[in-house]
Amino acid sequence: MTRVRRPSPQTIAVLSALAATPAEWRYGYELGREIGLKAGSLYPILMRLADRGMLETSWETGPPPGRPPRHLYRLSGAGRALAAETATPATAAPRTSRGKLRGAW
């Protein structure tokens, strides 16, 4: 039997932010800024969520000339279920006492 660990506060914050607009595709940089996570913390979380089927990823279509397409993210059905599961009162405050998530770099 696989042991299911409770996601970290940072992961819960990512899930919550994506679950706020579940149908919308989000950019990584903006997502990180919204929840106060630096790239060093955000990307490993996004990779893990994608590996576990919680996250759908896609590439931007029709980017302006000279700019590469950006990666887009949104929750899958399983991701939305996990976000709903983790959005309990006990985990509703994943931020530190300073009001920001502890994100490295």
């Binding site: 595709w25 950019y27 990584g28 940089y29 630096k38 790239a39 060093g40 913390s41 955000l42 990307y43 490993p44 996004l46 990779m47 994608a50 590996d51 089927g53 996250l55 759908e56 990823t57 896609s58 590439w59 931007e60 279509t61 000279g66 700019r67 590469p68 397409p69 950006r70 990666h71 887009l72 949104r74 899958s76 490295a104 770099w105």
Partner: protein
């Protein structure tokens, strides 16, 4: 989808480093980072983003593993070199052992004959225990070779070193994902070998010339002989009952025998390190200063334990020949040669042809390893991976 360059500034170079560090399976994420990087405004923000990307890349297990491995190996080599081993030969031998064990550990994690570890907890436990034992051996070897040496230490180390490497190779092959060895065989075999080895050491003449340690036990400890023979036999019976396979049962007995031989050799030599003042005096008193006599006594007393190592090597060779199923005629011939060599070696030893026995053990060992290397591996379906991309 390479897109425009991220520039040649420090932040751009860091981002290039991050995307380079990412394993092949994560290349898509490198492109994602690069596209986001181009959206970041401000020099310091770009630098922070690039640093974060480097951190994200370094946190990937596929990146962390080789870095940790390299760091561990380098640390071990540095400890050996700084460990006070003054004799150049011993330094070379022990450093080589560290590098060989590190290479084997690396191969044990790569797909192939030696790895990666099978899914069973026993496989992981056997590997962890095997490498822990190898680490202890290395540590003891370093401590044992510190300070002045009165004999040529490089003459004493290689046999133990060769046996250790052989055991590690067999252990890895046995617990690799492609192995057909049932987890019960090493589990019961090792347990029986540890028990039988301790009993065997106790009933043997202590350090060749002193009464056996078991002499003080009721019945002079002769009942321990039943443990020496019975433990591997019980392991064989139990594994046979659990797996319904004569090959698995035989493997349990072979593993038990090999571990038993190693335990005897380790205890025999280890006693000189733990109880140096209680060891026998075999060489004449005029053989030299006390330190030289101690070294010579140890060498003389070690004959029985060297013999145990040779039998251990033979059993490890035969075990290697039995790890994978012999379905090709070439493999069948090699395996039969290995087993025949083992029987012949015993016969030679019993008739006093020691040199021939040693040569036969070597030949059987080579045949056993060749059998292992040429036997087909069990094929397992590749893991199913789903693409992470979707459509907007």
């Amino acid at each position: 989808m390479n897109g425009p360059s991220v520039g040649t500034g420090a932040a751009g170079r860091l981002l290039a480093l991050a995307t380079w560090l990412l394993p092949a399976a994560r290349r898509e994420w490198g492109l994602a980072m690069r596209a986001e990087f181009l959206q970041v405004e401000g020099r310091s923000a770009r630098m922070r983003f690039a640093l974060g990307c480097v951190r994200a890349a370094l946190l990937q297990p596929a990146v962390l593993r080789p870095i940790g491995f390299l760091a561990g190996t380098t640390t071990a080599v540095c400890l050996v070199l700084a460990g006070g081993i003054v004799h150049t030969g011993a330094r070379i031998v022990i450093t080589t052992l560290v590098l060989v064990l590190a290479s084997l550990a690396w191969l044990g994690g790569r797909p192939g004959l030696l790895g990666p570890a099978g899914p069973s907890r026993t496989d992981l436990a056997v590997r962890a225990g095997g490498f822990a034992a190898a680490g202890v051996y290395l540590l003891v070897a370093v401590l044992d070779n510190r300070g002045p040496q009165y004999l040529r230490p490089e003459l004493g180390v290689p046999l133990g070193m060769i046996l250790l490497v052989l055991y590690v190779v067999v252990m890895l092959a046995m617990t690799a994902r492609g192995s057909t060895v049932a987890p019960a065989a090493p589990a019961f075999g090792i347990g029986a070998g540890l028990l039988a080895g301790a009993a065997c050491f106790a009933v043997m003449p202590f350090e060749r010339v002193l009464p056996p340690l078991a002499d003080g036990l009721p019945g002079h400890g002769l009942w321990l002989v039943a443990i020496v023979a019975g433990a591997p036999a019980l392991a064989m019976a139990e594994v046979g009952r659990r797996t319904d396979s004569p090959r698995q049962a035989l493997l349990a007995a072979l593993i038990g025998g090999a571990v038993c031989a190693a335990v005897v050799a380790v205890l025999g030599d280890g006693a000189w390190l733990v109880f140096p003042d209680r060891m026998p005096s075999i060489v004449p008193q005029n053989a030299g200063p006390a330190a030289v006599r101690h070294a010579l006594n140890r060498l003389e007393a070690g004959d029985a334990y060297v013999e145990a190592m040779i039998w251990g090597a033979l059993l490890a060779g035969v075990t290697a020949a039995m790890i994978r199923p012999a379905v090709r005629s070439w493999t069948v011939v090699l395996r039969a040669t290995t087993v025949a060599g083992g029987v012949l070696a015993f016969a030679c030893a019993e008739t006093g042809n020691v040199d021939l026995a040693v040569l036969t053990v070597l030949a059987a060992l080579v045949c056993g390893l060749l059998t292992l290397a040429t036997a087909p591996r069990r094929t397992t379906p590749p893991p199913v991976t789903e693409p992470a991309t979707g459509t907007p």
